[in-house]
């Protein structure tokens, strides 16, 4: 059994008046892939975005209860959010490379955190692109604009960009939903590879994807966590009727 890395206890989240997460209790284990599933609007993305405090960008949100990363409160008043986000990287739903060269995209994070030496940056860029399984496709055009890449390549570039700051946890917010099947399978393989060194939390609408790659699955419905456990068990013998209805496609 792996150690818990992210732990939610009685976590509630509000967008203004709307109660988006209700009393969530969830322990995410280290070096695992944890999938968050559930129908649209169930709160799975909201939960993901509380982990690196991306919800801070939205006005009028409020959090109560406890959410901790390696035992420290994520929402502590003196929490350095930039440091938190350095440890907890994120890959978004739509590929969002910056309008600069491939090299500068990957080097953006390290540069932000103070790495200036050219040789060091070169190493980080190459290693991150290799880890994201895109090095061979882009090594001859590192100075070209990243917006010229295909959607699948852009998303792997974004993964490389996230890996370049050596995060501890990688959050993936439906990161394959905008991609074709081949790119999707590349990114799934990549996630399986990366869990050796990282803890990965993915939000997905695709249940086959959750089955294929995740170790643990959490099922959300209307802001509540209905069921959480080993993926294999949840998809073969769900304990809650609502989980069964959802994974067998009766709603959603």
């Amino acid at each position: 059994m792996s150690d818990t890395i992210i732990s939610a206890k009685n976590l509630d989240f509000y967008y203004g008046e709307a109660h988006a997460l209700k009393n969530i209790c969830l322990d995410i284990p280290e070096h695992n892939i944890t999938a968050l599933i559930g129908p649209s609007g169930c709160g799975k993305s909201t939960f993901l975005r509380t982990i690196n405090r991306m919800n801070d960008l939205i006005e009028g949100t409020r959090v109560t209860g406890s959410l901790s990363y390696r035992g420290e409160e994520i929402y502590a008043p003196d929490r350095d959010v930039t440091k938190l986000r350095k440890s907890i990287g994120m890959v978004f739903q739509k590929p969002n490379p910056f309008p600069m060269s491939i090299y500068d995209n990957v080097a953006y994070g390290p540069r932000t955190h103070g790495i200036r030496a050219k040789a060091r940056l070169d190493d980080i860029v190459e290693q991150s692109l290799r880890d994201a399984a895109i090095w061979d496709e882009v090594k001859d055009r590192l100075k070209k604009n990243a917006l010229g890449l295909s959607g699948g390549q852009q998303q792997r570039l974004c993964i490389a960009r996230a890996l370049a700051i050596k995060p501890d946890v990688l959050l993936m917010d439906e990161s394959t939903s905008a991609l074709d099947p081949i790119s999707t399978s590349k990114i799934e393989d990549l996630a399986m590879e990366l869990k050796k060194d990282y803890t990965i939390v993915i939000v997905t609408h695709n249940m086959q994807q959750a089955v294929r790659i995740s170790d643990k699955t959490a099922f959300f419905l209307l802001g509540e966590l209905i069921e959480f456990g080993d993926t294999e068990k949840m998809f073969s013998q769900p304990t809650d009727k609502r989980t069964e209805d959802y994974i067998t496609g009766r709603f959603g």
């Binding site: 440091k83 986000r85 490379p97 600069m100 953006y108 932000t112 960009r161």
Partner: protein
């Protein structure tokens, strides 16, 4: 059949509008150049007016124009871009932002003679700058600030939110994110704002007549003499020759120089923008 006629008539009307507009524009440009180009000579561009020799030269006016453009842009660009960045990226109070936007839109549209009055009261009188190019430039700063703020704000709004999220998600601080991701991807907006602002500065006469003076003599722009530098820009000089001296051939020559100057400035702003974007 009726439908077809309808289409044809519509198309003819649209062609007509375009043709008329472009035609009028070309006519004006052509007319000015034909009337003006004859009066332009090397000495016209490189000397100042001499009553004794009876020669006309516009070098002081050219220098004054460049001075006014450079000074007013140097001050208003950082101020305006800074204000726009604050309003779009930092300001939390939506009502405040809306009020400022409304105010700057209104200010961008009011007649420049009102700015002239403000300039006379604040810069020339209260701050004791008198009628100088410096006072004129400062008045123009106030005049073009709303234009720069609005155009900057509009282009900041077009920078995708996903760029901001991407940068913040990598642990970038807010200002770092703005400086490294938001501002570079909106260089075009700065350039457009600059061109609009320069256009207003070059075209301005009322403000400068009241705040910068109408002298056609050579001015000294060294820092310690700045308090005495007072003179006409090209546009004011144009007015001066056409209205006071009824010397229309000189006025047309100045107009031609103004046209060329505007083209040069707009092209170099565009060129600079492309350069900045690439680096």
């Amino acid at each position: 059949m009726k439908r077809k006629m309808y289409e044809i008539v519509g198309r003819i009307l649209l062609y007509g509008c375009t043709g008329l507009t472009v035609g009028l524009l070309l006519f004006i440009i052509g007319y000015i150049i034909i009337m003006g180009v004859g009066g332009i000579s090397w000495s016209f561009l490189t000397t100042s007016e001499s009553v004794i020799k009876g020669t006309i030269g516009i070098l002081p006016a050219i220098k004054n124009t460049l001075f006014v453009i450079v000074v007013s842009l140097l001050i208003s660009l950082p101020l305006g871009v800074g204000a726009a960045v604050y309003l779009t990226e930092y300001a939390k109070n939506k009502r405040f932002v809306a009020a400022v936007e409304f105010a700057s839109e209104t200010l961008a549209g009011i007649p420049s003679i009102i700015y002239a009055l403000v300039g006379v009261i604040i810069f020339c009188t209260a701050l004791k700058l008198q009628k100088t190019l410096l006072a004129g430039s400062l008045t123009l700063v106030i005049m073009i600030l709303p234009t720069i703020i609005r155009s900057t704000q509009e282009s900041l709004k077009t920078v995708p939110q996903s760029y901001r999220e991407g940068a913040l998600g990598l642990g970038s601080g807010k200002w770092h994110m703005i400086r490294t991701v938001v501002l570079p991807s909106y260089v075009d907006g700065i350039v457009t704002g600059c061109i609009l602002a320069v256009g207003r500065v070059i075209g301005e006469s009322a403000v400068l007549m009241y705040t910068a003076g109408m002298s056609m003599a050579m001015q000294d722009f060294s820092i310690d003499r700045l308090s005495g530098a007072s003179g006409a820009t090209l546009t004011v000089a144009l007015y001066h020759y056409a209205k006071e001296n009824a010397d229309f051939s000189t006025a047309f020559s100045i107009a031609t120089v103004l046209l060329i100057l505007t083209v040069i400035i707009n092209f170099s702003a565009g060129f600079l923008g492309k350069k900045l974007k690439r680096s």
